[in-house]
């Protein structure tokens, strides 16, 4: 801790000024190649490591980005972080992770604390409980931000999402084509455009097929897991739908349990398709048909966009990018009892 090697150490050792050392380390054109080489060699020899705090204080660059997500223990987000990390690593950036656990106050605390200049930029996937966007509006004006997947319509910022409307529409059509006539919707993320678009896709698919799309077929997501069980059981008992579109995977798994409980056979009695990035979807019993988002790519793309903003000074870009999800048909939406290869 004491005799740490700094630019000063290198300067003294080489009998040159600390300015020269600093510039050499930064590969400045002002320094001759000979001197640079000497500095680099000595730095390596003495295991010099630039002090990030001092560097950041002086240069206002932190080489760090923040990722604010609802929950890390969710395949979609961990894959997205994977993508983010890959890009960040290429540029020698460090990644701070913040989990909101779907709590808006926590989210506000994070965004506020990030106003201090701790990071150069922020990637956000909005908490489902966020209804007030004031903290984002402030944030977006002070620091480069990219929203990914879970976005808000009203905020003017760079966003990257998937084709939520289309994929929900297609998922619903898939059920209808396979014989469903009464399709229910498990509705989550209702505050976010992400959720709203999925709902709209579902509803319009039903409309386009002249099928019932009443409110009674929609179950709202409950923070309380038990509540979801109750609501799904209620739905299945009261409405007896023959198809279910689930807008998040956390909603689909309870369905499986409730079906077992009620003795309903999937897919004969009820077909299920869900937005999901579960790696075990093909191994479930029965294997689960999914709308799978390109989570890793979203992460990469989001980080890429952030760095593009970081590269040019004025970060006034307001673009919105959309990636395509994949509809993967598996046993849970299969037509008859004939076997389908699971994959």
């Amino acid at each position: 801790m004491k005799g740490n090697v700094t630019v000063k150490t290198l300067a003294k050792e080489l009998n040159i000024s600390i300015a020269t050392v600093s510039k050499a380390l930064n590969d400045s054109y002002e320094i001759s190649i000979d001197t640079k080489q000497k500095v680099w060699d000595l730095a390596k020899k003495l295991k010099y490591e630039r002090n990030p705090a001092a560097s950041n204080l002086r240069s206002h660059k932190t080489k760090t980005i923040a990722v604010i997500i609802p929950e890390i223990a969710n395949n979609f987000f961990s894959l997205a972080i994977n993508g983010i990390e890959e890009i960040a690593r290429k540029r020698d950036y460090h990644v701070l992770i913040y989990q909101t656990h779907e709590n808006s106050e926590t989210e506000i605390a994070f965004t506020d604390s990030l106003l201090s200049g701790r990071v150069d930029g922020i990637l956000i996937s909005v908490s489902s409980s966020t209804e007030n966007y004031a903290h984002f509006k402030e944030l977006v004006n002070k620091i480069p931000v990219v929203f990914f997947d879970r976005t808000i319509e009203d905020i003017d910022a760079v966003k990257i999402t998937t084709d939520d409307y289309e994929s929900a529409y297609n998922a619903t059509c898939h059920l209808i084509e396979n014989g469903c006539r009464k399709v229910a919707f498990l509705f989550a993320l209702s505050n976010l455009s992400t959720g709203q678009k999925r709902l709209a896709g579902y509803q319009n698919a039903l409309k386009d097929h002249q099928l019932d799309f009443g409110e009674e077929l929609i179950v709202n997501y409950d923070k309380d897991e038990d509540g979801n069980y109750e609501n799904i059981r209620e739905l299945l008992n009261a409405q007896k739908p023959d198809g279910i579109v689930s807008s998040i995977e956390e909603f689909a798994l309870p369905c499986y349990y409730v079906c077992r409980e009620l003795g309903l056979n999937i897919p004969d009695d009820l077909k299920i398709i869900s937005f999901s990035n579960l790696s075990t979807a093909p191994l479930l019993s029965p294997s689960l048909s999914t709308v799978t988002q390109p989570a890793f790519e979203i992460g990469k793309e989001a980080a890429g966009l952030l760095f593009r903003i970081l590269d040019k000074k004025p970060f006034d870009t307001h673009e919105v990018q959309t990636l395509k999800s994949t509809l993967i048909k598996r046993e849970s939406t299969f037509v008859s009892t004939v076997q389908v290869e699971s994959c």
Copy 2:
């Protein structure tokens, strides 16, 4: 960016010195309660945020810890991070995540870069490909480090693991008790004490039951996914084991696929139990018996230990803590064809 509010701003506004403001913000006993209150009020009003870089540069405290893990898209690690984050948040610490992707060079690059004082402490779960520990020895001498789950015997540091030996032993006994006479082992993490203990537990369980425990029953984990399929297929064809203990979940899922391919019925022809934190284990077909580690608690415990080291100056603790895993019996190790409730 320009007119940022700093201690200077507050000092000027209140007609007191910078030193007083700084001390007031840090709730120093040197400052009267009146002055403190004035400073706090103004700070809140002007939305003052302490500059972390300056603070860190001066105080040598970063309020940041690093977590180095193999892979975030793995339930065990994302749950562990969850636990880490919970503790870090309580202390207003920030969490940097680094993924090695099981690559030792990447791991070295991370540990080297963290020598710069970017973080106050580090939590590490070692990459499976790490064979040389030089970088850890250096690290442990310069900065507080806690190893969790994936540890190395030779390194003298604070460690927290689960009862790998006992749980592997018990898992193997469970298979034997349910009728298995030829139990194979899918061996991963062979460089780490974590993996070695699991192997030892398996082997000793077989010995204690006078069963065959030859090398031919052990399959080594391959980085290449296809390689694992091949090796498992080979094992099942050549050895025809009636039980499998898998030391990691990445090894168990291919088993399911190979069994489908070979037309083997689980659990009638082959019983499987695996170390795993898969949330969907109960929903697999058949549901998977697991040794489940308390991932969240490990994370909490590891972070707690790190902060205990951080609190007292000399970080010379060398303790090792062990948490208990849970053996969860499900269909994949069930005795006969009679149904068992899946959960």
